[in-house]
């Protein structure tokens, strides 16, 4: 199957969970559906949900939790 990448439309800080005390939206190896949230990008203190454009298996997060991300940068790899 083809490897696909979810791209961040915004620059900012990437979070894999909705709050520090919550579990990650997705772990590597999890199944993901189209439209499912895979993380948040915080830009200037406002939070935007990042949803998967693809269905399949999460194979790799390319950005770590709380790391900086540029607009257009790939966040996660999905084997669909």
């Amino acid at each position: 199957m083809a490897k696909q990448q979810v791209i961040s439309p915004l620059p900012g800080t990437f979070y894999r969970k909705s709050a520090p005390d919550q579990p990650s939206y997705k772990e590597e190896g999890d199944q993901v559906a189209v439209g499912e949230t895979i993380g948040l990008v915080e830009v200037m203190k406002s939070f935007h949900e990042i949803k998967s454009d693809f269905a399949g298996t999460v194979t790799k997060f390319l950005i770590d939790n709380e790391d900086a991300v540029m607009a257009g940068q790939a966040l996660v790899e999905i084997d669909g």
């Binding site: 915004l10 800080t13 200037m44 203190k45 900086a68």
Partner: protein, 454 residues
Amino acid sequence: MAIASLLIANRGEIAVRIIRAARDLGIRTVQVYSQADAESLAVQLADSAVEIGPPAAAKSYLNIEAVLAAARESGADAVHPGYGFLAENPGFADAVEAAGLIYVGPKGATIRLLGDKIAAREAASKAGVPTVPGSPDRIDDPAAALDLAARIGFPVLIKATAGGGGRGIRVAKDRTEFSRLAPLASAEAKAAFGDGGIYIEKLIQKARHIEIQVLGDGDRVVHFFERECSLQRRRQKVWEEAPAATLPGDMRRELCAAAVALAQSVNYRGAGTLEFLYDDDAKEFYFLEMNTRIQVEHPVTEFVTGIDLVREMIRIAQGEPLALRQEDIQLNGHAIECRINAEDPANDFMPAPGSVTALRVPGGPGVRFDSMLYPGCEIPPFYDSLLGKLIVWDNTRAGALRRLQGALSELEISGVSTTAPLHRALAADEDVRSANFHTRFLEQWLERNDISPA
């Protein structure tokens, strides 16, 4: 102890502001910065700069260990927290002092006390300062609740003790409605939060946000009159003035006396602001909270009193007694501040980081522009959207409004969207011009008015 070298544990326009105040006192400045801020104006203007980590604030500006390491490495003997980030973190104030450094602000214990809503309310009551009337704690007996609601006066809010973020709140406008809603609210709270506890609070329907600036040296406290910050969006202040245009003189005296009494009761040291809701119709005010730091909107107070608040707070941190007597502080004229944020008011205030390609800064008498901007600067996406503040002063409010309109027409920021067009529209609005506003005015105004792009 005289400060020789001051570390600025902040960024953006307030870091620039603190550098300027320190420079006026002959103090060397050390600016900490994240990897996203290496080219920032504050880094350029400080005597030296130390990188403290990656862009994310949690890993740089909020990293206490990294800030303290920078202080050790640079030989700074004092730390100024600015506002936001670590500014109201009592653990940070304690850690700075434990490291043998001066913290420019109150003691950690004072920050801790006033940061706790219940404790701050109690401190206010003890000092004789009114808080929003309500039940002091949860109230389970329906008859007692109705009794108390009637004593407070309708309308009242019925709130779930276990609720939060606006959830589990009902408004009762009379006894009948209260009797119907209180059991409902309790049952709902039980279902939603697993706890049916409710408490009641007076609904302040149309109030202004009025706050009093104080300075204390740990012994004596003086006030610098009020600011009005009623124009807010999502609880964020957008436009601030000093003094409050419609506040009667007797109420001004009462508010200032209440603020000094509360600050005095905790032996306040440093710059602080006591926030109140003020009900025009009832001529009553209620203490909300005390901010234990310098505030974004401090320049309007500096304009109408002629006193450099940031310089005074550094002097106090050096152990100098308050240089001012209350009678030295006089109100003169009127000042207005507009917050210039990197947000697009034509597109639901979408954050707008990016590169500033060109900049034209307004000037002339009574005009001040505190900002982090220079032509070509990058606005990183990692921090809040405040780029700077345009502050104007004139003898009268009408004059200040004219100056504001002139200054806003001079201001040009290219490359990123800003809230300047919102301020141009507000400065021309009849209600704003007659100070006919309250804390929910701006959100209602935004529903009626479209902001066309600059």
